[in-house]
Amino acid sequence: MGVFDVVGPVMIGPSSSHTAGAARIGLMAREILDDEPVEAQLTVYGSFAKTYKGHGTDKALVAGLLGFSADDVRLRTSFDIAAQQGLKIVLSRSDDEVDHPNTVRIAMTGKTGRKMEILGVSLGGGKIEIREINKAVVALSGEEHTLITIHRDQPGIIAQATTIMAIGHINVSNMRVFRSAKNATAVMIVCTDSPVPVDMVNMIKNISAIESVITLLPL
């Protein structure tokens, strides 16, 4: 833990896990949608379901979806801002069993009609993990430059994408591939030491069988 993790993060209260972490999950969800969200269905589980109101977890999730960071005071009035900007929010509580007490599922629709669903957990101290993207099980912390591909599982996709990065001298720090079933939807998460430039992202997008490519900056 660095000194700025001890004296920090700077955040809107009251809880690093239930407020700051929730805002970061919302922000990550927005980036994964890669579109301006116009509708979001939020399902909160476990401790999030029990205490979301007092912790402002709902406001924080919406703030993130609006693109606000965890230390942005607009978090306090995020529902009003969402209404003004035409983002429809539906929140429900679930008592289903979940692996982690601080869990939320977000199903989003973007302006262009793009749909995306994620499952996020807040691990404490503002740290988070995205554990599902469109039902595919993943593990995404958002602490590094990250490139995500959503593609159809077939041989050669990983090699083609990483070859493009290799030619561009992009160093991979961590990489994982997840799939829901053989030949079904797969998700590749590549963490890199530097951001992958737009032209390279476009080349990766052109690989057949790749449906979409999302790049994330460190949170």
Binding site: M1, G2, V3, F4, D5, V6, V7, G8, P9, V10, M11, I12, G13, P14, S15, S16, T19, A20, S47, K50, T51, Y52, K53, G54, H55, G56, K59, D71, V73, L75, R76, R93, G124, G125, G126
Partner: protein
Amino acid sequence: MYTYEYKTLHELVALAGKHHLSLSEIVVRHEMETSEQTEEKVRGVMASRLQVFHESIEAGLQDQGKSVSGLVGGDAYKMLQSPAKLLGSLSRKAAIYALAVSEANAKMFKIVACPTAGSCGIVPAVMTAVAEEIGTDQKVSVNALFTAAGIGAVVSRNASVAGAVGGCQAECGTAAAMAAAAAAEMAGGTNDEIINAFALCMKNTLGLACDPVAGLVEVPCVKRNACYAVMAVSAAEMALAGIRSVIPPDEVIEAMAEIGRIMPVALKETSDGGLARTATGKAIAARLEQDMQE
């Protein structure tokens, strides 16, 4: 391998001695070597955290409203308006400012988690009270905050700063002990006095349960921040008088880790024990649940 790496407080003090530097200078240099940032940048980030400390004190003193649950809010203002009865000026300010920051946190203002949101009032309150009362400048505060942060990092490494892992001793206990160290440094304490201030304070928070009513960072957290801010001042005053902790600082941290391990889960942020399960605590939780369903 890093030049200024320290895993214990003993190592931190030894490094300072070896290089003839202050504790804060070692902490700054270690942060520079791990983050690969310049001194100016690293000091700038810490100065900006100090700025948020002051903003959160102001926010808490000015806003007299209540939190969403209605459980807390307005007490910092109430104490500020009330004439001093018992506490000296510095300790009284520390208590008022800690209430202010913790209330600001509960009311969703901007704060610095230090080391956590639940314990965010103590370090800003003590440091601001000391700076105002003894008239130190910002540079002294930034240095003291680096020292406190470096000490907090050692606690985080060798024990924990999470209530869910170690109970409130890990959160408010660590915060108070960090504040005691910062106060001792600001008042001109030696390296030995600084870490003894830490140890004297940490020892007297051991065993503290995390038992928040209805799972919220409000009861007892807000008032606990104020009481532990005053304890931090007491510990620093003792250390500055040359009083030493019989148990060395690193062993106190080990004791905190051990108590955290054997502490029942009901007392580690689960709201299944202690104040959360009192008749009043349960009634508040039931009322808030009712409100959410409506």
